[in-house]
């Protein structure tokens, strides 16, 4: 059934046109969908727009969803698509395709002085501070496990370019989390 707690029976009920079942699917998955959208677009208000668009796509796609693919994977793919489409529509696609290697990772000062190196909250905020071109790739690959090829297709670029961005993103996050004073601890 997966972490989203959506059973095949619930999905079958959706496909039979049971509206209450669809609402139940939305209730069970909303926080996951919203979180994924937020991780990609980096803004709470925009994440809500992306989540709404994603559910419209789920709603339209349910008729074609046969359950051969895992629902969780299917849903994550829909959210990723909705988020990238949203950024394109908002004219932020440039940020997706331009790699700004030298931009400093600007995170609020209170985060910089946080004591714990690999704290998840700090990582979450460091992630939000990455340029979209790097953030989208590292979120899709390292958080949601999407294959390089699929990410490349989604962003309209090559697998090689995806790997380059991924390595840059990993390096910048690692450098942020492990400042020089932490280096002897690992």
């Amino acid at each position: 059934m997966g972490i989203l707690m959506v059973s095949p029976e619930l999905l079958a009920a959706c496909r039979r046109g049971d509206r209450a079942a669809f609402e139940e699917v939305v209730r069970r998955t909303y926080r996951h969908v919203y979180t994924q959208a937020f991780r990609i677009v980096g803004d709470r208000h925009e994440a809500e727009d992306v989540a709404q668009e994603a559910y419209l796509r789920v709603f339209r796609g349910l008729a074609g969803f046969r359950g051969e693919a895992q629902f969780e994977t299917w849903l994550y793919r829909i959210v990723a698509n909705a988020a990238i489409t949203y950024l394109r529509r908002k004219g932020r696609f440039g940020e997706l395709i331009i790699d700004r290697e030298d931009d400093p990772l600007e995170v609020a000062a209170d985060v910089r002085v946080a004591e714990q190196a690999a704290d998840r909250e700090e990582l979450s905020r460091a992630l939000a501070a990455l340029p979209i071109s790097l953030r989208a790739v590292v979120v899709l690959k390292d958080v949601y496990g999407m294959p390089h090829k699929e990410i490349a297709e989604l962003l309209g670029t090559t697998e090689g370019a995806v790997k380059v961005r991924l390595h840059r993103a990993r390096r910048r996050l690692k450098e942020h989390l492990f400042r020089p004073e932490d280096r002897d601890e690992v």
Binding site: Y55, V143, H167, R170
Partner: protein, 126 residues
């Protein structure tokens, strides 16, 4: 390999198998600094994968707004589409079954006809 050759490969090694993996591994076995650096990358990636379960709290009314986005008329339309799609799917499957059956029957009849012909017509002697 030297540290300056290995360092650029570590972000990849933390998640995948990089080019020249055997050489990189050999270097890591003898270089504590690069090995520690790889550990930092792996710790970062471990935290990243854990973010999947680290859910962000949406605004209070967001869920209700999402539910309200599918009005009743749209729901009825989709339900109808699902029923039509299902019927078309079964019709296509049935048609496929009928065609496959007809082809199989045709082949069997053809084989039987050949066998009958072979029995009726004796092989010509030299």
């Amino acid at each position: 390999m030297r540290c300056e050759d290995v360092r650029p490969l570590l972000p990849e090694l933390a998640g995948d198998v990089p080019e020249r993996a055997a050489e990189v591994e050999a270097h890591l076995g003898s270089c504590a600094a690069c090995s520690a650096e790889l550990g930092r990358y792996r710790a970062t990636m471990l935290q990243l994968s854990a973010l999947r379960e680290d859910l962000v709290e949406p605004p209070k009314a967001a869920l209700e707004r999402a539910l309200a986005r599918v009005p009743a008329w749209r729901w009825r339309l989709m339900s109808r589409r699902i029923v039509v799609d299902e019927r078309l799917r079964y019709a296509a499957l049935s048609l496929g079954g009928v065609i496959a059956g007809a082809v199989a029957m045709g082949l069997l009849r053809r084989r039987a006809a050949r066998r009958d012909m072979a029995l009726i017509t004796p092989a010509s002697s030299p």
